[in-house]
Each structure stands twice: as C-alpha cells, then as structure tokens.
C-alpha cells in the first residue's frame, strides 16, 4: 500500500494576520508556521493504515525551503519519506498540477490531504487532482477504512447529513475530524526523521488561473453593548428593533 499525504505549511492558528505595506503580500514577520491542521488528520490516518496493513507513507509539500521544518515534523510523526516541489504555491490549480505530476510518476494507491488549508481556504486542490488524474475524489471525508486491497469505504459530510461511499483504489480523499487523532512526534521519531529521505524536485511548467492582487482586513466591530443580566430579555428587543436580525 503506497499512500501519499499532501501537506501545506500554514501560519499557526493563533497567528495575527498582517500584510506588507502595499497590501500585496502576507507579512511573515514573527509568524510561526505549522502543518495545516486539516492535513494532520490525513497524515495520522495514513500512518494508522500503514501500521495496520503495511506499506509506505510519503509526504508531499509544494513550497519553498522554509516548509522543511514542518516536512521533517511529518516524518517525525511517522511518514517514511518526503518530496518537496520547490515552488511557491501560486494558486490551487498550480498546486494541483504539481501533485498530479508527482502522483503520475509514483502511482500511489491512496492520496490524502486536509479538506482545506487554513490560510487560503480554497477547498479546491483535492477535486482538481482527482479530475487531473481521473480518479474519484471523496471530499470531505471524516471516516476512512480499507475493506481489502482494492476497495475503501469512506464516510463524507454533505450539508445536512452524510454519505457512505465505497471506491476502488486508487482514489483521493480530503480529511476532517474525527478521521483520526493527530499525534505529537516522540523523541525517537524526531531522531529518525533527520535521516529519512527528503527529495526536492523542481515544478512542472504549470500555469495559474487566478492572480492575488490585493489583501485587506475586515472592518473592526464598533464595540460591545452590555446588557444587565437581570434584564436579559431586553437583548431580544434590541436584536429585533436595533440590530434588526430577528
């Protein structure tokens, strides 16, 4: 069983988000980067499957050299080897083409990633890769089991419910909780991760379909109006007559 897990290098969930003075780029100053939290569900499930059925877990990141600490972290958590496509992830289509190119070369049985990245929130790459490779994309999945060597059973969320899907390998799925319980690397993992292979490859000549031209921050709230708890019913009147939301 060969499993590919795609990870993004994203600002920590507690980061304050700022942009450069011209609002053209994200300001990385003082920002701590982490493995995209959604991707961690994919990574740990992949490792669990490997532990149960055997095989290998390869981590793939489309990113510049500053992604490598988090790629090593994924190796420390339990992936076997890693590939970094040496390019700034310009847009979803660009990233999808890089992943598809790596997948074509290595023919994985299962491709996993998080349901979206917490920085660009596109939720596009998994379906694009599925389309590029002509394999099923099960998005967003919260349960994944292998029934045998050629079939997987997944549960995916739909608005207002869930679907149970059985697919033949190879397939791609995006992960969300509670697919697995993300793990923290242990000391042995950190030590062995240093010597696990991390291959850097150059991007294929892929094009982009969108341009990010400007960033801004939403308007700040005008401040909070406090209501006396003894007179809590007043809130309902304010919501109807002042805020006009009831």
């Amino acid at each position: 069983m060969k499993i590919l897990v795609c990870i993004s290098n994203v600002p920590d969930t507690t980061s304050k988000i700022n942009f450069t003075a011209d609002n053209k780029e994200f300001d990385k100053t003082g920002v701590q980067y982490v493995i995209n939290p959604w991707d961690e569900y994919a990574l740990t499930r992949a490792i669990e499957l490997k532990e149960a059925k055997g095989g290998t877990v390869t981590v793939l990141n489309v990113g510049e050299a500053d992604s490598e600490p988090n790629i090593r972290k994924a190796l420390a958590i339990g992936a076997d080897d890693a590939i970094r496509v040496n390019a700034y992830p310009k847009d979803s289509f660009f990233v999808a083409q890089q992943i598809a190119a790596v997948a074509k070369e290595n023919s994985y049985d299962v491709i996993l990633m998080g349901k979206e990245s917490i920085d660009f929130n596109g939720s596009q790459v998994h379906n694009m890769v599925g389309e590029l490779l002509g394999i099923p994309a099960v998005v967003p999945a919260f349960k994944l089991d292998l029934l045998d060597d050629s079939t997987a059973r997944l549960e995916r969320e739909i608005e207002g419910g869930k679907e149970v899907v059985e697919v033949k390998l190879p397939f791609i799925a995006s992960a969300q909780q509670p697919m697995s319980e993300p793990r923290i690397p242990n000391m042995r993992g950190i030590m062995t991760a240093r010597t696990k292979p991390l291959k850097v490859v150059e991007p294929t000549g892929a094009d982009t379909k969108v341009d990010y031209v400007n960033y801004s921050k939403p308007e700040k709230k005008g401040g909070v109006k406090m209501i006396d708890p003894e007179n809590a019913g007043e809130l309902i009147k304010l919501l109807r007559n002042e805020a006009k939301v009831l």
């Binding site: 999808a96 917490i118 969108v210 909070v224 809130l235």
Partner: protein
C-alpha cells in the same frame, strides 16, 4: 455569452444558498449586460424552479434523471458542462457548499477556467479585468483575486448576498447530458440525513451555540429551546464536540464548520481565536458568559455577563413574547 447559476435542491425546494447564488448571478448578468440561466439537477419541484424568476432568472434548465437524486460528482459535472456549452456561459455561479465547491473545482479543470471559492461580494468588472473578493486566513482577511481565464467560476460564501425578490416567473426547460451507467460509478452506497427541524447549520440565518459553560449535554435543552423560539440552528465549540456532548457536525470553528449567519449567539464559549475564526464573519454576535474577561466579548456586538442557567430562560421567555 451568458451567466449560468447552479441550483441545489433540498426536499423538493431550492436551497437558500442557491437563492443567494441566483441573486448573485442575476446581478453579475446585469453588470455584463447579458442574460442569466440556472441549471438544476435532481429532486426539485417545477414550481420551486419557476419561482427563481423572483431572483431574476429567466430560464431554468432541469435534468430530472432519477439517478441524479444522489450527488455523483462526475454525472453532475457532465450535466453542467453541457449547460455551459449550450448557453455559451462565461460566468458560472455556485454556492460554496460541499457540492458546489466540488463541482466548481472539477469544472475549472475540465473547462480550463478560473475558480474562486468563498467569494463574499459582487465582482469588479473593468474591460477585460474581472476581480472578486474572497475570504482568506479563516475569516481573518479578505483577498481581491483576478480571474484571468474563461469561464470564470465563482462559489459564493453562504449568507454573503441578500436574496432579492420581485422578478417574474422563470421558464423551465429540460436538459439531458445523455448520462451512461459509467457516469454513476462513484454513486454513494448510502445517504443518511440528520434529523433536524429543517434548519441546516451552514445555511442558517441564526445560530445558537453552546460551549463548556453549559456544563454537560443534559443542559442542552436550553440551547435547543432558545434556537427553536428563534428559528435558529444549534452549534457548539470544539471542546464540546471533543467531549462528545454534541456531534462533530455541530462544531463551529477553524477546524470545524465556518458559519456566517446574520446572528450568532454564543453561550458559555470563551472565544478562543480558533473558535472566532469560524464565526467572525457573522453580522451580529451576542456573547453570554459568566466571565467578564472572556475574550469573546471583544468580538461581540451585544454581551451579557451572567450565568447561562439564569440568562437563557429569560431569553426564551422574551423570544416567546415576540410577534412572529
């Protein structure tokens, strides 16, 4: 050249988020000086489709193939691609639902188009330049994105467009993409819908959400009763779903569902930055918490410092007294 809107149904009616997409599509068509058509798939009643005229849709293309009652991405994409070709559509509008985003991504590859998901406002169109604004960094920022290829595929964030009404009646025509069994090879084995009172959390205009301050699942009737009086959906914070007090699909936050209702009422939730990321585009936020130092008050429009078990019954009483 035209604008095409994809419409999703639920229990025979058009979903609220699709009415938003229809409104958006009509307004884009006005900007471009062109027409807007909708394409609907699966179980939606014909009169519900005709009423899309209210949002300015003149024509609805409908594929009622019974096999399409369940979502099967490849089959849906084929029907919509056919509609795109037939209508010579240059702009495609979807709701940013799980289905809408999935079809949008597949179509973007198949048609070589530009895709923007999570879009929050109408486009700026100047000559050949076509720019939309989308939410990024989990609601903490917005980005202006130029869509450089055709067709331009836009998935709009829920509750970001006010639904218009007052148009006419749309004509409903059949469309068929001559689907074969192979198009349904990824058909789901089973579809299980949650039991709700009809208000889906991602679509809800009002959300009542409980946190650890509710002390246990046995107290959730307070959240549910208030939600019922307000016609709201219920939600919860991450610790609450982690402790299995509530199901995971109710978890709102950075690693749960993102919601953007008109009104979000947070009860017993302190307001960690990860929770705020899931709710910060709500139009009005109410925070009820015992702790006056709870960070959530900084993001709130209205606040009550008090015990949920005393405050919420008063709110339920006051909500009962409202003229509905």
């Amino acid at each position: 050249m035209s604008v095409l809107v994809f419409v999703e149904g639920l229990n025979g009616e058009v979903k609220k988020s699709s009415l938003e997409a229809a409104t958006y599509g009509s307004q884009v068509a006005q900007q471009l000086g062109t027409t807007v058509t909708a394409v609907a798939i699966g179980e939606v009643k014909e009169d519900a489709l005709a009423r899309l005229g209210e949002q300015g849709i003149s024509k609805v293309l409908y594929d009622g193939d019974e096999r399409l009652s369940q979502f099967v991405a490849n089959a849906y994409v084929k029907v919509i691609a056919k509609a795109v070709e037939q209508e010579n559509a240059r702009v495609l509008v979807f709701s940013n639902s799980n289905i809408g985003a999935a079809i949008g991504a597949k179509l973007a590859v198949r048609l070589n188009g530009s895709l923007a998901t999570n879009v929050t406002a109408l486009p700026k169109i100047e000559g050949d330049s076509f720019t939309v604004t989308r939410g990024v960094f989990s609601g903490k920022a917005l980005a202006d994105v130029a869509l450089t290829a055709d067709p331009k595929i836009i998935a709009i964030k829920k509750n970001s467009i006010d639904i218009t009404s007052g148009g006419g009646t749309a004509t409903v025509e059949n469309i068929s993409a001559e689907l074969t069994d192979a198009d349904f090879s990824e058909k789901p084995k089973e579809t299980v819908m949650q039991e709700t009172d009809g208000v889906l959390l991602p679509e809800a205009a009002i959300v009542v959400s409980g946190g650890r301050g509710m002390k246990g699942p046995e107290n959730w009737h307070l959240i549910e009763d208030l939600a019922k009086e307000l016609g709201a959906a219920t939600a919860c914070s991450k610790p609450v779903s982690d402790m299995d007090w509530r199901p995971h699909h109710e978890h709102v936050g950075q690693t749960g569902i993102t919601v953007s209702p008109n009104l979000y009422i947070a009860i017993g939730i302190s307001g960690a930055i990860q929770h705020l990321a899931g709710v910060n585009s709500s139009k009005v936020i109410v925070v009820i918490n015992k702790d006056p130092e709870a960070p959530f008050f900084k993001a709130a429009d209205y606040g009550i410092v008090g015990d949920a078990f005393e405050v919420v019954p008063k709110l339920i009483e006051a909500a009962k007294a409202l003229d509905k």
